[in-house]
């Protein structure tokens, strides 16, 4: 804890807050997107916003693994879990995410489906070994951080000759999503999401390194600062972005030097490359179909691919039309803009994925930031 607390030190926070306040130019807005839900969570949990000048505005990005999974894919997982002999293993966050027709994994489980919450892909391997008469499927979601552990499990299943283990792969790629946010004309024209700079992912960058971001900085003239997940990391990175913007620079800078190198984790990248290949296109909640933005299993591992093994096909998903999650995920709306927020949609009764995970913008707003939007408060809504 000693090591962690250094990155939460109030004195350092005040000093950084004072520097940011001194260096921002009045009459200018600094619209900074934090891509990762981990940053969103830290900003709310530690009250970072209270330490920022009014013209530094944080825009919450789509980097919440649970939030960006389209309902279609969740529906497919629920349908799979309902098949006889199937045991579906999932990370806990997915359980309460609402699918079509008021379904969720939690509901399916209550109705008899065998759905297990696991903390690690190797728990799923263990379940497969212990239950040779069950088809154990790991519901793989997440960005570059959760992809290598899935690869490890697939390799382990191959090495152990586990015939009853497979993976429903939904792993997605961060750089593709950032490009999409910056590039997609319909997003830029329709909703005018102006972004002056990016707080780059922390843990994702540990795996992929800082090099993949060079493209945005050059192509889109947007500064990127790769930031750690502790509040001091966030504050320092905001200061670095403010300086780049003031000086008209658009570079990739690395604040999270204690963990991120330019090339990233070579072993993890090699493992991922061995097991997975790019999908031509993949649907994201909020972003639509994004080319080359997700992984599927290579043919060599086809036997472990649940989609092929069970002939899984998408059904037509039913979205709640009033739910603003898609816009929120693009940074085009904030949670309190949504008509459902805090009324029909709460962490107890989530109607959209952003209200479920701790990394979701709506959950973070509700849990930590609701006071700003409360009807009885004078404080301006964000």
């Amino acid at each position: 804890m000693k090591y962690v607390e250094d990155f939460r030190a109030p004195k350092l926070a005040r000093a950084l807050a004072a520097r940011i306040a001194a260096e921002v130019e009045s009459g200018r807005d600094y619209r900074l997107m934090e891509f990762c839900g981990g940053h969103t969570h830290a900003i709310f949990r530690y009250g970072v916003k209270d330490l920022l000048p009014a013209n530094v505005r944080m825009i919450h990005g789509p980097g919440c693994p649970v939030c960006v999974l389209p309902i279609t894919r969740l529906d497919m997982a629920i349908a799979l879990a309902r098949r006889p002999k199937v045991t579906l293993c999932t990370y806990g966050d997915m359980l309460r995410v609402p699918g079509s027709r008021k379904q969720s994994l939690l509901k399916a489980r209550a109705e008899g489906a065998d759905i297990r919450m696991v903390g690690s892909t190797m728990d799923a391997i263990r379940l497969a070994e212990e239950n040779p008469d069950r088809e154990v499927v790991f519901f793989a979601i997440g960005f570059e951080t959760t992809t290598p552990p899935t690869a490890v499990a697939i390799k382990a299943a191959e090495a152990r000759g586990l015939a009853n283990f497979s993976v429903f792969c939904n792993h997605v790629l961060t750089p593709a999503a950032i490009t999409n946010i910056l590039e997609a004309p319909e997003i830029r024209q329709m909703e005018a999401v102006e972004i002056d700079g990016f707080l780059g992912p922390a843990h994702v960058s540990v795996v992929i390194g800082s090099q993949p971001y060079d493209y945005f900085a050059e192509e889109f003239r947007k500064p990127v600062v790769i930031a750690g997940f502790e509040p001091i990391d966030v504050m320092q990175s905001i200061l670095m972005l403010v300086r780049q913007i003031n000086e008209g620079r658009a570079e990739v800078e690395n604040q999270y030097t204690r963990a991120v190198t330019p090339a990233g984790n070579a072993a993890a990248k090699a493992l991922v490359a061995e097991v997975f290949e790019l999908r031509r296109t993949f649907e994201w909640r909020g972003l639509g179909r994004v080319p080359y933005s997700a992984f599927r299993l290579r043919d060599r591992f086809a036997g472990f691919d649940a989609e092929r093994r069970f002939g899984m096909t998408p059904d037509r998903a039913v979205e709640n039309k009033a739910c603003d999650c898609p816009k929120i995920l693009r940074g085009a709306a904030v949670p309190s803009d949504c008509r459902l927020f805090g009324k029909q949609c709460t962490p107890q009764t989530p109607l959209g994925s952003c209200m479920v995970s701790d990394e979701g913008a709506c959950a973070a707003y509700y849990k930590y930031g609701r006071r700003r939007a409360a009807p009885n408060r004078r404080e301006a809504a964000e």
Binding site: M1, V4, R8, P10, A13, R14, A17, F44, R45, Y46, G47, V48, K49, D50, L51, G92, L95, R96, M117, V118, G119, D123, P231, T346, P347, Q348, D358, A363, Y366, K367, Y368, G369, R370, R371, A374, P375, N376, R377
Partner: protein, 341 residues
């Protein structure tokens, strides 16, 4: 299995069937362990002489998994949990009833260990277990052992505690470190493979609560922050008293080991269960006396003043973060953790 020794063998359906096996179990295990004049095993009820005045009653079911954990087990928890609920009403607990639901196949040695633990906890708390019931369910229909206890206590003269009593300006105290129980139980849970030297804080709070009430009879209310942790208790108080509450993060007593485990597991100690801590709200002029009274008791050595009640039409609980910002402390949403009590 007539003359069971309880060192080996398992619970069988016959232990709940009303015949000789059940009678043996009751006499040689429960009555022998709980040993007190009100519990003979011969009657269908206990008859107690009760002083006049107000009586506090509380009932609670215990389903913790695993049933043994560092610092306690389902037995000590079943006694202390209900003793504490009675004590939080300003009452001195006198007697407990207990109902066991046992799963066929439960090792008798485990049952015996749980029952001995209950007896020890009851003696430590100064309460008698005066009546009980045993049922056995088929294998697969339970999870080893479920215990329900009901506690009875005599409410102190002149004391009137209620979650509605809080007023703006009142001071909030906790009696010690937060989150020990939840982390100790989770550390033992299958799938959560981590070693921790944290032990459950499971303890009877009637002595500590009594010491506080002796020193500060003006105490507005007490609560034990079990499931849902400190956050749940503060939100209950805020809603019932129709106030807001502000706490200070740097004032919260949290062990480094608990903070570290929470960090790794992605938990917030504010939401983690305690089984031997109380939250008290007192008028501001009595805050120091209350703090001194808690700290003078062995269970309250790490007590701290953590915040204040304030006027707030939204009844929000907020925390001034150690980092220098503010955030809401909301109810926990859902439950993705194992059974902890």
């Amino acid at each position: 299995m007539r003359h069971a020794t309880f060192d080996n063998g398992v619970v069988e359906m016959s232990h709940g069937a009303g015949g000789r096996d059940m009678a043996d179990l009751i006499r040689h295990l429960f009555v022998a362990a709980f040993d007190n004049p009100d519990l003979t095993g011969e009657e269908d009820q206990a008859i107690l002489s009760f002083p006049t005045g107000r009586m506090a009653i509380s009932t609670d079911g215990f389903v913790v998994s695993p049933m043994f954990f560092p610092g306690g087990d389902i037995g000590s928890l079943a006694v202390n949990g209900t003793v504490n609920d009675v004590a939080m009403g300003g009452a001195d607990p006198v007697a407990l009833s207990c109902s066991f639901i046992l799963e066929e196949g439960l090792p008798l040695a485990d049952l015996s260990r749980v029952v001995e633990s209950m007896a020890t906890a009851a003696r430590a708390a100064g309460v008698r277990i005066v009546t009980g019931d045993t049922k056995v369910v088929e294998r697969g229909k339970g999870d080893g052992i479920f215990i329900t206890t009901t506690g009875f206590g005599q409410v102190r003269e002149g004391v009137s505690l209620s979650a509605r009593n809080g007023r703006p300006g009142d001071v909030v105290l906790v009696s010690g470190t937060l989150g020990d129980h939840g982390v100790a139980v989770m550390g033992r849970r299958e799938g959560f493979d981590f070693d921790t030297d944290i032990v459950s804080d499971c303890a009877a709070l009637n002595g500590l609560a009594g010491a506080l009430l002796d020193a500060v009879p003006q105490t507005r209310l007490m609560r034990d922050p079990t499931r849902g942790g400190l956050a749940a208790v503060l939100n209950e108080i805020a809603e019932a008293s129709r106030v807001g509450i502000t706490i200070r993060e740097d004032a919260l007593p949290i062990r480094a080991g608990v903070a570290g485990a929470c960090e790794i597991l992605g938990l917030d100690p504010l939401y983690v269960a305690n089984e031997g801590k109380l939250v008290a709200v007192v008028p501001p002029e009595h805050a120091q006396a209350a703090l001194a009274a808690l700290r003078a008791h062995p269970l309250g050595a790490e007590a701290a003043i953590i915040g204040e009640l304030r006027a707030d039409p939204d009844h929000f609980v907020e925390m001034e973060t150690a980092f220098g910002g503010r955030r809401m402390v909301d109810w926990i949403a859902g439950e993705q953790l194992p059974r902890i009590c």
